[in-house]
């Protein structure tokens, strides 16, 4: 494993961890969605790194798919947030505890 790979993977893991922390500490749904995007992009970075080391295009293609998935998720997510905002006037996830137990 060459040094550039290690650097990239460490960066990727760092971004992934930042994403996890963001998911756990943010209260605004949009911020949480952004944290998830961070995690997905960290995975993308890992894909590209591995693809480069294998000198194959598979990993790069995978990245395209992941980006598509992330976009679709964002679209659905924003639609849900708007719906929630209309009915409750907030997208603070702390307020969403009607369902519990």
């Amino acid at each position: 494993m060459t040094s550039y790979m290690i650097n990239n993977l460490v960066l990727s893991l760092a971004i992934f961890s930042i994403g996890i922390i963001g998911f756990l500490v943010k209260r605004n749904a949009i911020a949480i969605l952004m944290a998830i995007e961070l995690m997905l992009n960290a995975a993308n970075l890992a894909f590209v790194t591995f693809a480069y080391s294998f000198a194959s295009v598979d990993g790069t293609i995978l990245v395209l798919f992941v980006i598509t998935v992330a976009t679709a998720e964002a679209a659905v997510g924003l639609a849900i947030f708007i719906r929630i905002y209309r009915s409750r006037g907030t997208i603070d996830v702390d307020k969403m505890t009607t369902l519990h137990g």
Binding site: S56, G59, I61, V66, V69, E73, I84, L99
Partner: protein, 487 residues
């Protein structure tokens, strides 16, 4: 001479079910746009027709085992069974929907189309033999279900469930993708077959990546299958989602998830680095799920929540077969049969229970006390619910019993006696809460309000669904080989 790039040959028969299902769903959305409002109801019957068509096409496609799309999909017997189960489940879900959709003013076209897209995701997941395909089909499935969960626009609980399902689902997907990245990094391929081939040559370091990668993928599946300790979303989402969608999440996505997990596990199971100990984690997850699911269900008052916890427990039972398949090659065939049979059984029992819940539910109320005296007011519905509960408990001669018997005997053959004992004890505990539903229906007085207000008619489609699943629960319980002998 330049060599011509070889275009992978595409056999239409092999891909027809997937392509046609996609087109069918799109056509329904389009048709919905152009139809006048009062005729839009036709979407659900159209959807059902689509399912029948796909069933026919699938039987054609699976005539000869093949690997269409350049080996990304695999049309093996196992996948065939899963697709049968998913299609039966999807068909029944459409049948139990009309009343509910009508009552809650859900747009018919979107609802049906999304249901079909979710089914497309499921059957793709069941046949996918490659990690990118697996990820994409999982996303098709999940995104459709997120929207369907929140499709009751005026109901804040539905939106809340959608929000939780979406955010937690996306969170778990991120881990799954990271896992795929690691597995890819270790082996240089995303094809499960190639991964399996390259694993023996993997060095010490690559092996580490494989373990981490597989762990993350497993975690992603645990979320989808609502296995403890990644089960916490399930009760909330099940409670908040529209009831037919709850039924569909509880059944279809589990069947598809287990099918995909089976493919992944099978590709790794024969690698020598994977000893029996390696799969100990599956043992722990199964026990956690059985215990947490069954215990937490006891104190539930809402039928949908109760079924959510029960589905967690049932996922635990089913995971036992995956554990056996992964760790003891000698029992693999038996365990696979057990897995397939239980998936069918589980789907039938749950759809029957949810079908009854829809048939006698009123707006926004699914409290168990609401079923008091149901045996008096509508004896047939009560009998159907009782059958579902008994089957879930595992009383012979229902499918629930035969399924549990298959699973536990596979576990014992593989030497997991303790798992069988824990499973049996857990199902003794489960008798308590399943029975409570029966007791409430048969032995409590109906509330005055329930006795006076006339129940709305069940509807032909829903009745048909209930009848079909009841009959199948008993028939497949008495003649299990009818299902296992299909292919």
């Amino acid at each position: 001479m330049m060599s011509q790039p070889t275009v992978p040959q595409l056999f239409w028969v092999e891909v027809a079910p997937f392509v046609v299902l996609c087109i069918w769903a799109l056509a329904i959305i389009l048709a919905d746009l152009f139809l006048p409002a009062e005729r839009r109801r036709v979407a659900l019957p159209l959807g059902f027709l689509g399912v029948v068509l796909i069933a026919y096409l699938s039987i054609q496609a699976f005539e000869i085992p093949g690997n269409p799309f350049g080996g990304m999909l695999t049309l093996d017997t196992f996948a065939f069974f899963c697709i049968v189960v998913i299609l039966v489940g999807g068909g029944l879900t459409i049948l139990i929907s009309p009343r509910y959709v009508q009552r809650e003013h859900i747009p018919h076209g979107e609802y049906t189309a999304l249901l079909l897209f979710a089914m497309l995701g499921m059957i793709l997941l069941a046949v996918s033999n490659e990690l990118i395909t697996l990820l994409l089909s999982l996303e098709i499935l999940s995104l459709s279900l997120y929207i369907l969960t929140g499709i009751e626009r005026h109901n804040p609980r539905s939106s809340e469930a959608a929000l939780k399902y979406f955010l937690l689902g996306a969170f778990s997907t991120a881990f799954l993708i990271m896992g795929i990245a690691f597995l890819y990094g270790a082996t240089g391929s995303t094809f499960l077959v190639t991964i399996a081939e390259r694993l023996p040559a993997a060095g010490q370091q690559s092996a580490l990546w494989v373990f981490v990668g597989f762990g993350l993928i497993l975690a992603g599946f645990c979320f989808k299958l609502a296995l403890a300790p990644l089960h916490m979303w399930a009760p909330d989402v099940y409670e908040g989602a529209p009831t037919p969608i709850t039924a569909f999440i509880a059944t279809g996505s589990k069947v598809a998830g287990f099918a995909a997990l089976w493919h992944v596990v099978m590709s790794l199971a024969d690698w020598q680095a994977m000893t029996q100990n390696t799969f100990y984690v599956l043992w722990i997850i199964a026990v956690f799920s059985m215990v947490i699911g069954n215990f937490a269900a006891i104190v539930q008052k809402n039928i949908k929540r109760l079924l959510a916890y029960s589905s967690i427990a049932h996922s635990g039972y089913i995971l036992i077969t995956i554990l056996v398949i992964a760790s003891v090659p000698a029992v693999r065939t038996n365990a696979t049969q057990a897995l397939l049979y239980y998936l069918m059984a589980y789907m039938l029992m749950n759809l029957l229970a949810f079908g009854v819940a829809i048939a006698c539910g009123r707006k926004g109320d699914s409290n168990i006390e609401h079923y008091a005296g149901l045996a008096r007011t509508s004896p047939l519905l009560a009998a159907a619910m009782a059958l579902a509960m008994l089957s879930l408990t595992g009383v012979p001669p229902t499918v629930g019993f035969v399924g549990k018997f298959y699973i536990f005997s596979a576990a014992i053959q593989a030497g997991y006696l303790e798992l069988a004992i824990i499973g049996l004890l857990a199902s003794v505990v489960s008798a308590v809460y399943y029975l409570r539903v029966i007791v409430v229906m048969y032995m409590h007085e109906p509330s005055r309000e329930a006795a006076e207000t006339a129940r709305e008619p069940v509807g032909a489609a829903n009745s048909l669904a209930l009848l079909v699943s009841s009959v199948m629960i008993i028939l497949l319980g008495i003649f299990p080989f009818w299902f296992l002998g299909l292919k």
